[in-house]
Symmetry: C2
Subunit: 123 residues, 2 copies
């Protein structure tokens, strides 16, 4: 569970832009750089970081390197986030039990909608 490199990789906007462009499918380096406001070597360096974080995978095809999204890094990130989710759920329930019934805020301090309140989403 080495989520550190993945989190550090995702901190950079340019690297996130690279991942966004990979949503449409695998792509060689040149095509990636063509759609970004930085030079091709910069993209190469970013791809290296993303690869070491297991967020992208590399595949050689003749003279070009095709990059694609790698599930492994995303999986590690998801596990990291989810591990906090359980904690935050616990603390949130505590706060609700102590704070909700006392104040008359309608009792929906723990919102039922997905956005806005914590919610178990994985088994």
């Amino acid at each position: 569970m080495t989520y550190g490199p993945a989190l550090q990789a995702l901190a950079d906007p340019t690297r996130r832009a690279i991942l966004e462009r990979l949503r449409g499918g695998p792509s060689p380096v040149g095509a990636l750089a063509a759609g970004l406001p930085v030079s091709r070597p910069a993209v190469s360096q970013h791809l290296r970081v993303l690869r070491e974080a297991a967020l992208v995978a590399e595949r050689r095809e003749g003279t070009r390197n095709i990059y694609s999204l790698d599930p492994r890094g995303l999986e590690q990130l998801r596990q990291y986030i989810d591990s906090f989710w359980d904690e935050v759920l616990e603390r949130y329930k505590e706060a609700v039990e102590q704070d909700g019934p006392q104040k008359k805020e309608g009792g929906n301090h723990a919102r039922s909608k997905r956005t806005g309140g914590p919610q178990k989403h994985h088994g």
Copy 2:
């Protein structure tokens, strides 16, 4: 969906350590700094970043500031990760359909275990 600040906040190991310490429940600043290898002002600055990323919440209690985990930032992060998950699933299936049946690699190129292969985990 402003996942940028949250991702940038989580890139720093010290900030992640602060969040780890908040797993056990809310805590004042001094207690947090006591368990970390940096000075108290440094922790204060980190808490500011975490607060602006909606990863922690602040509550004043007399002369001390109690910090706790905030669900909102985590929710945004989860949505961001999950948005990639769907894409990576699609690409992965494509790769398996094209690569798996042709090569005789045992057919388990798409692994069934949760760690190692992409998997739908949210409705």
